[in-house]
Amino acid sequence: MFEASEGVFGEVKDVKRLVSMFSLKYVVTLVYMLQATEYDAREYMRWVRRAENFRYKNVAVRGKLDWTRKAKVLAGVGYGMELFGLAVAGVAVWFLYGLVFARCGMEEWVCGEWVVEGVAVRVLIAVGVFALTVWAMKWWLAYLVVVPVAVGEVFVQKPIEGRVIGEAEGKLAGHKGVKIAVVGSYGKTTTKEVLRMVLGVGKKVAATEGNINQPLGIAKFVEGLDGDEEVLIFEMGEYRAGDISEMCEWVRPDVGFITGVNEAHLASFGSKDEIVRTLFGLRDFLGEKGVYLNGDSEELRQMARSEDVLYGIGGVDGWKISDVEVDVGGTEFVMKKGKEKLTVRTRLLGEHSVGVVAATVSLALKLGLSEKEIMEGLASVKPFKHRMQPRSVSGATVIDDTYNGNIDGMRAGIRLLKSLEGKKKIYVTPGLVECGEEGERLHLEIGGLLADGVDEVVLMKNSVTGWIEAGLVGRDFEGELKIVEDPVEFYQNLDKFVAAGDVVLMQNDWTDNYA
C-alpha cells in the first residue's frame, strides 16, 4: 500500500518536472544554473539530473541571473535551439502527414494491427508527435547547452587566458615583491585578508580581490599591478587535479600557506588524495622553503615535513600561545618566544582564528614590520562578510558564518557558540553539502555535538536533516528543535525569531544547485 502510493507521488513529480520545462524562461533557468555552478559542466549536469522543477522562480531562489555577455550569448544560443526544436517537431508532423497519413483514404488507415480512423484521431496523433518531439528537444537542450560553454572555453577563453597569463608571467618575473600564495579547501579568504590588513600597515601590499582565485582572474590582477608593491598575495583555488602546480609555475610564489583540506569539490577530483596532491602542489613548488601549514587540522599536521611551519592554537615558529579568550567582540591571546611577549587582540571570532593571526604576526616580524605596525594592522582586522561576522538583531547577537561549508568550521563554530554568554543559544544550519558517503556519519556527529549546551537548533529542511535530528535524539537533546521549510523566509525574518540576549550562530548555506 505504502509503496503504491509512493509510486503515484513519483509520477506526479515527473509530470510537474515535465510541465516546468515548457515555461518560457526555461532557457534562462538553465543559463542561471550554469552561472551558479561557475560553468562547471559536471556540477551543472548533476543538477539537471536531480532537478525536480525547472521554473525560474523555483530555481533562482537565492540569486538571479547576472546578464553578463557570456550569459547573453548562451541564452541566445539556447533560445535558438528551442526554435530549432520547434522546427524539427514541425517537420516531424509534416512527414507524418505527408508520408503516412496521406497514403490512405480519409476513412481508414491500416498498418499491421493498427487502425487509425477519422481526422480527429489523426490530429491527436499529430499533436502527440509534435509535443513529444518538442519535449525530447527540451530535454536534450538541458544537456546540449553545455556544448557552447565547452566550445567557448576551447576557442575563446583558453586562447585569451593563454595570452593574458603569458603577459602576467612576464610581469611577475621582473617583480621584486614577496609573493605569498594561499591555497586550501577552506580558510583561504580569511588568511589572505588577515595577511593583507596586517602587512599592509608597513608595506605596500596588493592582494587578489574577493573570491577571485582562478588563473584568468589572477592574471588580470597582475595586469593591474603598479610594479612597486613590496608584498603580493595570491589566493589560488583548486578546481581540478594539478591546477595549483600550474599556477605556481607562472606566479612563482616565495611563501606558501596551506589553510585546510577537506572534501570540497570532491566530485571534480575523484578522491581526497587527489585534492591533497593538488593542494600540496604549492609545497612541491616551494621545495626546501617549505610552507605554512594549518596545524589545527590533524590531517595537515600529519603531513608536515621539517622545513614546514605549523601554525595553530598551539603556536607557530617557536612562538607559544596562551591565555586565549573569546567573546562576541573578538579573540585575545598571548604570544611568547624567549623574552618576547605580545598580547594580540582582533575582532575575529573563535579559537580557530588564533593560528592564522599568530602566523601572520610571525611572518610580519620576519618581513621587518615593527611591533607597533603589527598592532595597528591587527586592530584594523574585522570579521569578513558571512564569515563569523557578528551583528545585532533585536538585541540578540547573530553570528553569520553562512559562507562556511566544512565540518572543521562547524566543529569550531559549535564550540564557539557553547563558550559564549547568552540567554539562549541558537544554532542554525542546513547541514553540509557534498559529503558523499561520509554524509551520514558527519551529520550524526553534528547532531551529537549540538545535543548539549545549545538551547535551540534550527535546521533548514533537506536530505541531511534526518541525520542531524537522529544525532540530537541519540544524545538526548532536551532543547528545542525547529525544522524550517523555507530558508530564505527564515533569514529574512530572523528578527521575529530572536529576542534580546540570545546568541545565534548561522553556519553554511546551500546554494541553489543543491536546494
Binding site: 533585536s394 538585541g395 540567554k423 523566509e489 527564515f490 525574518n493 521575529k496 525569531f497 534580546a500
Partner: protein, 386 residues
C-alpha cells in the same frame, strides 16, 4: 490534508482603532504565526462590520494602497458555522473555500472586538481563542468598571467620577458641578471604552471642562473624569500567561514635551512619520524603565495584582501611574490586546515574536481544555413536569 493547526486571525472591525488593528494583525500576528508553522486564515472585519477571509487580506499592501476595497468587492462575506467547533467559508460551489478553525486569534482593538463582544461569540462557537476571556475583556475595556474593580480589591487608582452621555446632555452644569466638587484639578476627561488614547483631554481648570466632556461624549456613551496624578511617571507593564502572569519589561513611555497626553498620534503616527521604519511607541520608550529604588518591582507586583483581580488571561498590558514624590503607584487602565502585541517589549524580555504567538496559542488551548472540564449539563425532569 495538513497536520498544521489552523489559526484564524480576526482584525479590523467597527472601531476607531481599525487601522491599528490591521498593523497589529499583519505585522505582529499573521507573519510570526506563519513563521511558526501555522496555517493562518486572515479574517478582516471592515469598518462597516462585514467579515472577509482569505490569504489576500493578510498582506499590508492591500490596505496601504486601498486595494482592499477591490478585494472586498470581489469576494463574498464569510459564512460562519458553529456546530462542533468553528468553520469558516467563503464563496460557493467549485469556488468555495472552507477552513476548520483550531484556534482564533483576535487581534482587534477597542469596540466590537477587544471589548469582549468577539470573545462572547467565540465562546458560543466552542473554539479556543487567544487572549483575555469575555468577562475580563468587558471589565478591562470599560475604564470606569476597571477602576471600580481595582478599587474594590484594594488597588490604588486616581480619584474619579463618571456619568453617561445622557446625564451630560441633559444637565451639563450639574455634571460639571459634580466634577468640581469631588475632584481636584487638573483632571483627565476620557471616553470610558476607547483605547489608544483617543478622545482624551487634560483639563487644567473649569474653563476647558465642558469642551473636553463634549469631545469624550462624541466617542462614548460613558464618560470618565479623573484626577491627574502629580509628579507623574507613566509606565506600562506587558504580561503573558494563564492564571499567573509572567511580566515582560516595565516600560516607560518618555515625555513628549508640550503634549502631556500620550495620545493616539504620539503612540502610532508621529514616530512613523519622523524616522524611517519604527512605527510604534518603541522609540519613545525606556525599556526597562529606570525607576527610583524599589519601584520597578512594586510596579511588577501591582500589575500582577491587576491581572489576578480582573481575571486577565493570555496577554495584557497594564498601565500604571506613579507619583514620584509620594512613591505611590496608581492603576490607570488595562489593555487586553496591546498594539503590535507589544512584541518589541517581549523581545527585550527574551521572548521572540514567533515564540510569543506560539505561547499565546498554547495558552488559548490550555484554557479551553481547562474549561472543558467544567460540567455544563445538568439532568433535570423540568421539561417532563411542564
Amino acid at each position: 490534508m495538513s497536520l498544521k493547526k489552523t489559526v484564524a486571525v480576526v482584525f479590523g472591525g467597527k472601531s476607531p482603532e481599525h487601522d491599528v488593528s490591521i498593523v497589529t494583525a499583519v505585522a505582529s500576528v499573521i507573519k510570526p504565526l506563519k513563521l511558526a508553522g501555522f496555517e493562518v486564515v486572515p479574517v478582516y472585519v471592515s469598518k462597516r462590520g462585514e467579515w472577509y477571509a482569505g490569504e489576500e487580506f493578510g498582506e499590508i499592501g492591500a490596505y496601504r494602497t486601498g486595494k482592499v476595497e477591490e478585494l472586498m468587492n470581489g469576494s463574498r462575506a464569510v459564512k460562519v458555522e458553529m456546530g462542533g467547533g468553528l468553520k469558516l467559508s467563503v464563496g460557493s460551489g467549485l469556488r468555495k473555500k472552507e477552513w476548520g478553525i483550531d484556534v482564533v486569534f483576535p487581534a482587534t482593538h477597542g469596540a466590537y472586538g477587544e471589548d469582549g463582544s468577539l470573545m462572547g461569540l467565540l465562546r458560543m462557537a466552542n473554539v479556543p481563542f487567544v487572549g483575555c476571556d469575555m468577562e475580563a475583556s468587558v471589565v478591562a475595556m470599560n475604564k470606569v468598571l476597571a477602576k471600580q474593580v481595582a478599587e474594590a480589591s484594594g488597588i490604588l487608582t486616581a480619584k474619579f467620577v463618571s456619568f453617561s452621555r445622557g446625564d451630560f446632555e441633559s444637565g451639563r452644569d450639574e455634571v460639571a458641578g459634580r466634577v468640581k466638587k469631588q475632584l481636584k484639578f487638573p483632571v483627565f476627561v476620557k471616553p470610558a471604552h476607547l483605547g489608544s488614547s483617543i478622545g482624551i483631554t487634560k483639563v487644567k481648570g473649569v474653563a476647558g471642562l465642558e469642551n473636553a466632556m463634549e469631545v469624550a461624549a462624541y466617542y462614548d456613551e460613558v464618560i470618565l473624569v479623573e484626577e491627574a496624578v502629580e509628579n507623574l511617571i507613566e509606565v506600562t507593564v506587558p504580561m503573558i500567561g494563564g492564571v499567573e502572569p509572567e511580566v515582560a519589561m516595565v516600560e516607560r513611555p518618555m515625555n513628549l514635551g508640550d503634549g502631556e497626553v500620550f495620545d493616539f498620534e504620539a503612540k502610532y503616527i508621529r514616530e512613523g512619520g519622523k524616522k524611517s521604519g519604527e512605527k510604534s511607541a518603541q522609540g519613545y520608550s525606556e525599556i526597562p524603565a529606570k525607576l527610583p529604588e524599589g519601584l520597578y518591582e512594586e510596579c511588577e507586583d501591582t500589575a500582577r495584582d491587576v491581572w489576578r483581580v480582573m481575571g486577565l488571561n493570555g496577554i495584557a498590558r497594564v498601565d500604571l501611574l506613579i507619583d514620584e514624590k509620594t512613591k505611590k503607584i496608581y492603576f490607570n487602565e488595562v489593555n487586553p490586546m496591546p498594539g503590535g502585541l507589544y512584541a518589541h517589549n517581549f523581545a527585550k524580555a527574551g521572548i521572540s515574536n514567533v515564540k510569543l504567538v506560539e505561547k499565546l496559542v498554547e495558552l488559548a488551548e490550555e484554557r479551553f481544555a481547562e474549561r472543558a472540564r467544567v460540567k455544563s449539563s445538568f439532568e433535570t425532569n423540568y421539561l417532563k413536569q411542564f
